[in-house]
Every structure is written in C-alpha cells, then in structure tokens.
Symmetry: C2
Subunit: 242 residues, 2 copies
C-alpha cells in the first residue's frame, strides 16, 4: 500500500472537491503562465506577485510596480508586458518584483494558496519538481489552470507526465481516475508532443493572435531546477525559503 497519494484536479472550479491539507499543490498552466513564471525565475526575477483581477493589477501599477497582465492572450493597455515567457528577459525582470495577472493561471495560484505548500510547475522544471515532491513525504495534488474553468489538454498532459515521474517512487500510488486519465493521455501524446498539441484549443487561440511561437519552448524538459513557491502572497524560488 502506497503511503502517499497523487491526485489531479482538472479545473479550478473542482478544487474544493480535491483540496487536501496533506498535499503539496503543483499549479500548472503550461501555455503560458506557469512556463512564464519559471522562465522569469531563470532570468533572475526576485519576486512575482500573482493577482487574480485586472483591478488589483492596475492598482499595483498605479503604485509603481512593474506589471505583466493579459486576458485571452492580449496584453492589457496599462501593463508593461503580457504573458509570453519571452517577455520575462533578464534585462527586464532581473532583481525586480513583478506583479502578474493572467486569464487562468494566476487565479489558480490564489485559489490553491488557502492551505498547503504551493509550487509552480512546467515542463521546464518537471524533474526538479518530481524530485522535490518525492523527498517531501507529502501527497501530490496537481491543479490544472484549465481555460475559464473548462478542462484543457496541455495542462492535463503535464499532470500526467509529472505523475508518472513521481510514481517511480513506490511510496506513491494513485486510485484517482483523473490521474490515471492524465497519464494515459500523456502516453498517447508523448511520442509526438508537438503533433498532439496541434489539436488543443489553446494552440488555436494562440495561433489566432500570432502567439504560438512559445509552444515548443513551453514543452522543453528540464531547462532549470528552479521551483517557484508561494510564500505569503508572492512567489520566490524554493531555495530562498529553505
């Protein structure tokens, strides 16, 4: 019998049914918020303050903060820049605090913040995440940001990939149908991930706005071992709070 369990929650709207005080919560929004957040820490950002509403983001902007904010893929006029990982360059974010608000990802982070430890997950840091979780002795709950509370495939595939890595540790097990489904979908996709991703709804949305240049980048494995973690109301690298 496994000591620790894995569950996957496909939508922020389902989080109340999966909430687990014994779990590390990994929030993922592969296209693009969680990939952008991991990239920002790779490029030296000091802190990221995720905010749910545009009103909060605008308020921070008026108080002098640098703000990244988008809705439906489009950067908002008051913001310094939008949601592409390519925006979070060392020149722009190195040593800075950034306020960040997106359609799905930052709301999911705020939602998860009610209890457990909250980490930000992307392919870019997937093996570092898996190693940390296995060392934690905690359950794993993957919270997919989805699309406006609907299921999305790209976050589900990531959840499947992360679950497979953590399940290599036999202290972990799962009887969660959503986790089993995510792993089966990842197995169906992983042989040709870029081919599979062509059909997902978010790829069509990004392409319609000429924003699909980031898709391959957001599916690169292990470009970093940095893990963003939520501390109070802001994200910092996990190493900074150890």
């Amino acid at each position: 019998m496994a000591k620790q369990k894995i569950e996957v929650c496909y939508s922020p709207a389902l989080f109340p049914y999966y909430e687990n005080p014994n779990a590390v919560v990994v929030v993922t929004d592969v296209l693009r918020a969680s990939s952008a957040i991991v990239s920002a820490f790779m490029n030296g950002v000091e802190r990221i303050i995720p905010v749910g509403t545009l009103e909060e983001a605008r308020d921070y902007k008026n108080r002098g903060y640098m703000v990244a904010a988008e809705r439906d893929g489009i950067v908002r006029d008051f913001a310094d820049f939008g949601n592409s990982p390519y925006n979070f360059t060392p020149e722009r974010v190195g040593g800075k605090q950034i306020v960040y608000s997106t359609t799905n990802g930052t709301n999911a982070i705020q939602l998860a913040s009610s209890g457990s430890q909250v980490l930000i997950g992307a392919y870019l840091n997937i093996n570092a995440l898996a190693e940390y979780i296995k060392g934690s002795g905690k359950d794993l709950l993957v919270l997919c940001a989805g699309w406006k509370n609907k299921f999305n495939l790209e976050d589900t595939l990531f959840a499947g990939a992360l679950s497979e890595l953590v399940l290599k540790d036999h202290d972990y097990g799962t009887i969660c149908d959503a986790t089993l489904g995510a792993m089966d979908l990842y197995d169906a996709a992983k042989g040709d991930m870029m081919g599979y991703i062509k059909k997902v709804a978010q790829r069509h949305r990004l392409k319609a706005n000429n924003l699909d240049d980031v898709i391959a980048y957001c599916h690169e494995f292990d470009t970093t071992d940095l893990i963003p973690v939520l501390e109070e109301n802001y994200l910092v690298p996990l190493r900074d709070i150890k």
Copy 2:
C-alpha cells in the same frame, strides 16, 4: 466548418461553464444509474422520477411510490431496492412509476433539466442515441455524472465513444479539449474495455460491496433503441413524446 458542435462536461460542478441552450444534453452515469434507467425502460417501466436528495425519495415513499435509492452503492433502508440494473426487472417495474435517487446520476439529471432536451445515455442505447442526435440538428453536450463532482473514467470513456459516433456525421465537429481527451481515452481503452475498467475507482468501490457483477452488462453495446428523455420532472421513453 461544422454546423454543430460537441462538448463533454466531466463533472456536474463544471456544468455552468458548458451549459448550451442549443444542445441536446446526454447525461451518463455508466456505473450504474444511466445503465439502470435504460434497463428499466427495456423492462417496461412507465415513468422514472429522478430525485436529488434522500429526503425527497423518502417523502415519495411515504406517499406510496415505489422507490429505488442508494448512496455510495448501498441501498437505503426505506427504499424498495437499490441501483443495480438487475433490480429493475419486468416483474418489479413493468407498467409502474419508480422514484429513483443515486449518489451522482440523478443529481446530474436534475442539474441538466434547466434548459435543453435531456436524454439518458448508456452503452446499452449508444447507437440509437447517436442516430437521434445526428437527426436533431442540435449541438451535443455530454454531461458525465462523475463521482461526487470528481472526474471519473467510465463516464468519460462513454462520452468519447458517443462523440466518435456522432462525429461520423460531418455536420458535427469539436474544438473541445474534453471531447478530444475523452475520444483518445476511449481509443486507448476500447481494444480491451474490461481490462481497462479494472483500474477505475468505481470498479474498486463496487467490488468492495460485491456489486461489480454489473460491469460487463453496463458495457454491452446496443441492447435497445430506447432513449429515456426528461419530460417535466420525470423520464419517459422518447417515442412516447414524439
């Protein structure tokens, strides 16, 4: 460009994000409520009144109705019988009205009743359903009953199977990630459905209560062309309201 769209909703809790007044809603709870309902109509039941709460079910019982009611697989003491399709025999239900309340399925039916036409779907009537939908000129929304608002695999596989059948009509298309995911999971499972179903959480729950004798039966295709439809607050065969 397809004229009609297909969407799949994995949980009653997500229904508000998928609700579509132009859709036929197919509610499914393969293990076991929707399979039991289809079986009851095959065996001559006149009407089924789905009720959400046990209090409502008990109230009907006190008013002299025959009541099928269970929670977590266990028949309730005040009820005449529980949730196995095998309970709905011709001797017991033929020509009768039955009140029915289950953990997930009957709540999902009530939830879906707010607008569109609501049909009950199971493998037992899957091709009849697909033919009816293709003739309707309406969108298709499959509402999976899930398990206490969590995702479940067996309803998702059915949603994938039904979507594949309806998509053979080129007037239908989908850009819904949940539909694409359901079809990919069905494709992964269909070569050995009984092998695949061994891992799903509901099979473990049924087995723990010696109720897993119905699993093969609930995955038989096309034993009937009867389609239960919601009319006001009760289910009748679709043919009766044409």
